[in-house]
Symmetry: C2
Subunit: 397 residues, 2 copies
């Protein structure tokens, strides 16, 4: 037997997706109502337009769509993305934009080009699990700064910047996992701090277009005038995740390094899915479809908030997100979300315990009494039933 | 201006795709006949069946195809791949197979799970550029072993194994770039050496199904009984590269590590393209389509071989591949392929100078007088014209 197990790279020591993967397997049990994943509502996926656009694409540009293409990505789609961000106040050309195989690849490649072992990365507390996992594989150390209802605490951020992290990772809108949104004042402050302390910003904005109330706020990349921001976006939430299409936008010099890393990682993202999405997007379908998504998810969010009001025992609190896919529940200090999880599974309802979103290497904070709930995936009639089951699990039965 | 340039990871020092990228840009000049890329013939891409299958898929399983899916890959497609390899003598289940976003991702993730800085990797000389680039990003050092018409020199391989490389990287069939094929005797010897020296094998087989003469030989994974082989395959050459679908097959323990790395890299490969390919493949279309590809590429190979006979000056030699997409030309020792390249571009014909396929860190060997020619992409009538132009460039005009 060839001995592979003594041959793994050191970076793999920190990579273990096992706990969450095991939890998510439990959520596959038949009859379970799952608030655990981050899945869009499949019943509103635009399957018909995908079929129609593919027929058209194969007829008109089929040979190009099935061939190898450039690492940079399909230029018309990159221009479409630049235009979209410029409408929010950014100042980008096609050369500032690269297509990625989902936003997760953007996170991974930023780790690849930026992170040496034991580099410090500043993250929000709690933060997006996929980013923590991606950067653990490059042996990053994390410094975390707490968030409240207006996003990251900028005073504590300034303190943490003294320790000179390589970059800061900010989720401005309807943050995953907590559902909170960074205020305009804090956005401006973060951009100023980035300049003052010379620490660049990775801005991750998968949900920005899914706002259900209030006014859109400018992304950090639109407030920055100093080439300090790499912005990550995705079509997973505004179209469909099954295509795996995301993007990064940022300073050309960084984008060029990124491109070299991407070339080694997968040569390029599927020509077919890129051209298909552009075919669908170019005449404005996404704007129209976004209205439908917002309507459906707003209804589900409202049902979940109402159900929480009705079924949660005293001492339990939760965030009231203005958009996105998630809200964050905080149990009394003395409770363990992991214990609630076991009872919840017995009751046929699932969530992700909050500790998954706290970096292990920053172990003073464990989020032991918190949980993330997704409200986009379960059908409206299931949401209230699921929250009622969850309430029972929290009460101990 | 935020200073990104002092923030890049050390691993990026070794990553520069610039020379080849610059060369390939030159091959885009209008009117040029390019033997430089590794592109399939787009005129035989199955565009109609893609359109039909998408319509069917969107109607029957559209919601699933557009949703997130597992990191492991679509199970029916993995079973299809296991069956295919088992017909060649392997012994695999669905748990031994993972879908990748093109074979390049397989190479990258093997680097990620296996390679620490300055680990030694044993490669053929010359070897596949994409593998060298992928592993340079993990700061690998390369040891190279020469190949001849029967593939890697097994005596020199045994010598090189004394230095205990982390793994050996073998392209058994119609090797990229040289077009040579590993003999059955040497295949058996390599598997035995792997066991004897406890050095696992990464077997990369993108072209194995594209044989134009002679008998198929078993892959190393079918000869090995010791869990020593990770096998990489792709649908890029037997269907279309624009979908970005490849796979790895190997021991379950390694496959599990690989899955964790893939989760951080891109969550999963496009559900849509995986299900689409399975929809097309499940009733045997790929077997039928392979006959067409073989017929077309065999004709192009034969025309290129005839044209070389006719137009190459004395002292120039070349390989006669039994399959695949490439052949390898060796110029007289005193000539520089880089100089020939400049004259060739003036003559409107392009190729890749051989030095691109020699690892820089193994600098005793430069391949200065060699070149790789692709015969799958240019139309038959262009091939003879292109080789005539190349002959003139070699002669110095």
């Amino acid at each position: 037997m060839t001995t592979w197990n003594k041959r793994y790279a050191k970076r793999m020591d920190g990579v273990n997706s096992s706990i969450i993967r095991e939890l998510l397997k439990l959520t596959q049990i038949p009859g379970i109502i799952s608030f655990a994943g981050g899945l869009p509502a499949p019943e509103i996926f635009p399957t018909e337009i995908c079929a129609e656009a593919t027929v058209h694409l194969m007829k008109e540009q089929g040979q190009q769509a099935l061939q190898y293409s450039t690492t940079e990505g399909y230029a018309p789609l990159r221009q479409f993305i630049a235009d979209k961000l410029n409408k929010m106040g950014a100042n980008l050309t096609v050369d500032n934009v690269r297509i990625t195989s989902g936003s997760q690849q953007g996170l991974d490649l930023i780790g690849k080009i930026m992170v040496d072992p034991h580099d410090k990365i500043l993250v929000e507390r709690p933060s997006y699990l996929g980013a923590l996992q991606a950067w653990q594989a490059y042996q990053a150390d994390f410094i975390s700064v707490p968030i409240d209802n207006d996003g990251i605490d900028v005073d504590k951020l300034e303190e943490a910047l003294q320790s000179k992290p390589k970059f800061m990772y900010i989720l401005p809108n309807f943050q995953n996992p907590a559902g909170v949104t960074l205020s305009l004042e804090r956005r401006k402050k973060i951009v100023a701090l980035s300049k003052q302390y010379d620490v660049p910003i990775i801005e991750d904005d998968p949900y920005g277009e899914l706002r259900y109330e209030g006014e859109d706020l400018p992304p950090l990349i639109a407030l920055d005038e100093d080439d300090s921001v790499m912005y990550l976006g995705t079509f997973s939430k505004t179209f469909a995740p099954g295509l795996r299409l995301g993007w990064v936008a940022g300073p050309e010099s960084v984008i060029q390094k990124f491109t070299m890393a991407k070339q080694g990682a997968d040569l390029h993202t599927s020509t077919f899915t890129q051209m298909l999405l552009y075919e669908i997007a170019k005449d404005g379908f996404l704007d129209e479809h976004r209205q439908l998504i917002r309507r459906v998810y707003k209804e589900r969010r409202d049902i979940m908030l109402d159900s929480l009001e009705k079924h949660m025992p005293e001492g339990v609190t939760w965030t009231r997100p203005f958009g996105g896919l998630f809200l964050w529940v905080t149990l009394p200090e003395t409770m363990q979300a992991r214990d609630v999880f076991d009872r919840a599974i017995k009751n046929k309802v699932a969530f992700v315990p909050g500790y998954a979103f706290f970096p292990e290497s920053d172990s003073g904070y464990t989020g032991h009494n918190s949980m993330r709930l997704n409200f986009s995936n379960a059908a409206p009639d299931k949401i209230e039933i699921g929250i009622e089951r969850l309430g029972r699990a929290i009460r101990g039965s």
